[in-house]
């Protein structure tokens, strides 16, 4: 098994990058990139991801990178992928990193277009559940009741189900992954690398300042998100075949919420609403997985 090599190989994202201490995105990028390897082209778009990549003349990653515009991570990667194919370099994977704003909101149309055409790209959404780079504003990835700078009384909308949207495109591969489960994340990137067509990743990436958590908390919070079923680990093949990759514990959502300052204002009633939503989503996922003939 190449696991050891892939969990401890040459780092592509170097030290000296521009992330805040303890940033969940930087950890996720590091894991994704070292699994991907340096024979790849990477697109980043305005977000913390682009900031982490470093200002001129510094570049934090040991791969060719292109800082494209906000809403076009997918077609930018697709343009490169098509051009590489025209040059006989189909073997070079093109990966796009975008934040939740660039994926759930402003980039959704162009991502949908690329997925519809089944462009040969790996698309990784680093979801920190808000516009954190611009200073903590609500996005459609922000969960219900969450405090942000533009939802001071708590977000009124529920989090958009991006995985369902992507699965509905019937793309070859879509997966959630977590920085608290690096082996699972690495296996999925390696698996995606062997496939062709549009491959989508949804990685929950805690923001230290936006989530109001300590610098040592990103991995712990992420682990809690999985174990409380807030962010289950699963993959979807061809849009229909669901597989749950980790059987979560039986922890109540409160355990996940109580460690984050952005939920400090929650009343027991609101926590109960969140719990009900999480339970419903989990049941839905279990049912989908049960329909997969492979399981």
């Amino acid at each position: 098994m190449p696991m050891e090599e892939n969990t401890r190989p040459k780092e592509i994202l170097r030290s000296g990058h521009a992330a805040c201490p303890g940033c969940g995105i930087a950890l996720g990028m590091r894991m994704v990139l070292r699994a991907l390897g340096n024979r790849a082209v990477v697109v980043v778009v305005p977000s913390c991801i682009a900031v982490i990549s470093g200002p001129f003349p510094n570049a934090a990653a040991d791969v060719p990178m292109f800082h494209s515009a906000f809403e076009i991570a997918a077609p930018t990667a697709a343009g490169i992928s098509r051009a590489l194919a025209l040059q006989g370099k189909e073997d070079i994977p093109v990966l796009a990193f975008a934040g939740d704003g660039g994926t759930f909101d402003i980039g959704l149309q162009s991502l949908s277009g690329a997925a519809d055409r089944n462009e040969d790209i790996i698309y990784v959404c680093m979801d920190n559940e808000g516009y954190m780079n611009t200073g903590i504003q609500v996005s459609s990835a922000t969960p219900q009741f969450t405090w942000t700078g533009t939802t001071p009384a708590g977000n009124t909308r529920r989090k958009k189900q991006i995985m369902e949207i992507m699965a509905a495109h019937r793309i070859p591969y879509a997966a959630t992954a977590s920085i608290a489960f690096p082996e699972d994340l690495t296996r999925k990137i390696l698996k995606a690398k062997e496939m062709r067509g549009t491959r989508f990743f949804h990685i929950l990436s805690p923001c230290i300042t936006g989530w109001r958590i300590g610098e040592d908390m990103a991995v712990k919070v992420t682990k809690l998100s999985v174990e409380t079923k807030v962010f289950p680990l699963y993959e979807v093949e061809d849009g229909l075949k669901y597989t749950i990759n980790h059987q979560p514990g039986d922890l109540p959502v409160d355990r996940y919420l109580e460690v984050q300052g952005r939920y400090r204002h929650l009343t027991p009633e609101k926590t109960a609403v969140i719990q009900a939503e999480v339970d419903r989503n989990w049941q839905e996922l279990v049912m989908r997985a049960a329909r997969n003939p492979k399981n």
């Binding site: 200002p55 001129f56 570049a59 990653a61 809403e71 098509r82 051009a83 949908s112 277009g113």
Partner: protein, 374 residues
Amino acid sequence: MAEAVRLCRTQFVAAYPITPQTPIYEKLSEWEAIDELGGSMMRTESEHSAMAACLSASLTGVRAFTATSSQGIALMHEMLHFASGCRAPVVMACVNRTLAVPWAFWSDQTDSLAQRDTGWMQIYCEDNQEALDSVIQAFRIAEKVLLPCMVVLEAHFISHFMEPVDVPDQGLVDEFLPPVHIPRRFDIDNPGFVAPVVTQTQYRDFRRRGQQAMEYALDAIEESDQEFGKTFGRRYGLVEGEDVEGADLVLVTTATITSTARVALARMRKKGLRIGLVKIRVFRPFPTAALRALLDGASRIAVIERNLSLGREGIFCSELKSALVNGPGEHHIQGYLAGIGGTDVNPELIERIVLDALERKEPTDGPVWMTEET
């Protein structure tokens, strides 16, 4: 248009349909389906994504093309800045069409002229032959200067107008436009970061380089045009002057109004009127020196155009005034708006403009609106 794209052995086309650009898109798709395009086509979900894909493919090192119009180029606006900032030599056909609101489908140059400051070169075509030839020139220019280039043709007057066109021989096109040789920015053996965040002074210096590239583009366009003339026997220039010397009035036109003006002026010259004609073909980079060479001595100038910057006047008129202001000549420059919204500009209307311009004592600062005779 599509024929030119095929002759140029364009490797990558990304597009989204919009009237009246669709015949180009459909023709290229047809050829792709029967393996005659020789490249890859991406049918995007928007013009914005089409330009995103074109510029990233171009940065990867392939020859990329798109075509759009009106709302499409307006939606692309952000990516137009991006393409020029990245120095990606993408070529685009823009079919001039009215911008909403109100909705309409006719020729109006405001859509492409509104992209004036995006850092794209812009070539305005008078007829179908020039449109075809300009695409071939545009790739050569863009790939030499490393700036994107827009070939602009008017809705219906060119896009849907049938006229005989000399389609150049593939061998000659290959000679004029060799296989693409532009930087490949995403080299895994020599990784770099494209489009980074920079400081104020670095930003200023990037912009200065862009301006230098535009200045160099004037030479590159001339050189390309000369070579084109040698190879194909047709030349267009940055600008074209006709009977300017000693004229009592010089008409300045662009695009299809030029051909109509040629007809009108031929008639008027027969009546003994001395009227010159200057056609502005290249709008960015603006051919200031070439225009001054033609017009520094012209005392009376009338600019006729099918576009409007609300609150000012026709855009070519403003640009022309600013180009001549440091010259030695004293000019009487009158702007005329004709053909706005795709309304007809016939030789009679141009004759009316000539007579008006000859009789007018003082030019008005704003434009004179010309309408159909009532």
